[in-house]
Amino acid sequence: MSDIQARLREIARRLLTEGHVRVFIGFGPGFEANRPVPFFAADPDAADRLLLDEFCAAGLARYVLEEVREGPVGLVARGCDGLGLERLLADHRVAREQLYVVGVSCRGVVDPDRACAAAGEEVRAARVNGETVTLITPTAERSFPRSACLLDKCLRCQDPTPRIADVLLGEAIPPGERDLAHVDAVERMPSDERYRFWARQFERCLRCLACRQVCPACNCVSCSLDRPEWLERGTGLAEQFMFHFTRAYHVAGRCVACGECERACPAGIPLGLLNDKFMKDLRDLFGVAAPHRPGDVEPLGKFCPDDPEGWHEGGEGT
């Protein structure tokens, strides 16, 4: 990655020096070495603080919404960031000419907590190579399976390389087909059990709105979830169902599966299971092959004359 990091800094420096962009969004050093944070390079020298490693977790697309207000923005984009940008572009929230996208292929981001649990001590560095991840700790260098080290969102990712990039650093990795089998497990529960499962998840919800605030699809100027006529501020179970139903439904057909909502949720609510249920039905009922990749018109903004009636085919456990 260090070679790519050097090229990234060089490009960012050039863009800032030549005035092509007002700010370059990437990652910079965090308080802890294995937790880099989003970083905004506003002058050419700041570009040298940009870093790119296996711990860069946060999604960057959402920042563009604020940052483009004052001028063109450059940013580094992994596959998930790229899809988020496509979402903002499809929603006409930003214009393509306002963005300079430096694409990189991402093989997965290491979760420092998960990696620490696997390695038994703090992880200083990591290398993601295919199905294994090498974790480097102060005392050892050992390999572990991906599932023991990476963020959940990365384990399900099939979009390692952004589709929109003005320049791509490194090799492109072809996209795959998202596996939505984790939805089946919930569908197979009896309905009362399924209700108890979700009630338990939603009861934990603090309503901090982190899921909405980090989401590139939740880019509305004003949100119905802030309006008491649509969602009361109380946190009784009925309102929690209303909140989670509305959040998921409002991104149905628009969610880019970047997994930021689930990563941000402090209560560990499996929000991806909600988003992916809509994806699965969009795929199965309306033949939208990859609903998370923005197209010309989102699937709920159009119809076919011979669409099936999903409510007949629905029903328990199917």
């Binding site: 919930v186 569908e187 309905s191 009362d192 059990e193 399924r194 209700y195 108890r196 499962f197 979700w198 009630a199 119905s224 649509w230 009784g236 179970l237 009925a238 309102e239 169902f241 209303m242 139903f245 509305t246 998921a248 439904y249 149905a252 909600l274 249920k277 809509f278 039905d281 969009l282 009922l285 309306f286 699937p299 709920l300 119809f303 004359p305 669409d307 099936p308 009636e309 999903g310 409510w311 629905g314 029903g315 328990e316």
Partner: protein, 140 residues
């Protein structure tokens, strides 16, 4: 549950087809249980999925969303959007644990008074079997 318990159904009816169909059922003196409260909407496409959830929240035991048959929409395509939308919404509410019988989506034309009465009869039977809805319902 007392034996004379009757379910409460909130019905969202399109003003061009289903609402007229319900009128026809009435003027034809068809018998069906008095379990449905109809809310007239301009088109089934007007029915925001939140309406359905709100109805359950505030005490409905069942919800009916009904409009013109595909191809007959007064606004050409409103019900075709409804079809996509409620295909997803119904499955999603079931995914959250709601029983499938509690939400029904139907096409009922202005000529189908019989059909309207039959849907209400069927729904009432189903809901009587299920009993009062407690899911997603707010504390009284």
């Amino acid at each position: 549950m007392s034996s004379d318990w009757q379910p409460r159904i909130v019905g969202f009816a399109c003003r061009w087809c289903t609402y007229a169909g319900a009128d026809l059922a009435g003027t034809s003196r068809l018998e069906y249980p008095a379990t449905v409260r109809l809310v007239r909407v301009p088109c089934s496409g007007r029915v925001n999925p939140s309406f359905v959830l709100r109805a359950f929240q505030r005490g409905a035991d069942g919800v009916l969303v009904a409009g013109c048959h595909p191809g007959d929409c007064h606004y050409t395509s409103g019900n075709l959007f409804t079809r996509r939308r409620f295909s997803l919404v119904k499955r999603f509410l079931e995914y959250l644990g709601l029983e499938p019988e509690r939400l029904r989506v139907e096409w009922i034309s202005a000529a189908e008074g019989q059909r309207f009465a039959q849907v209400i009869r069927e729904m009432t039977d189903d809901l009587c079997r299920l009993g009062p809805n407690r899911k997603m319902r707010e504390e009284p």
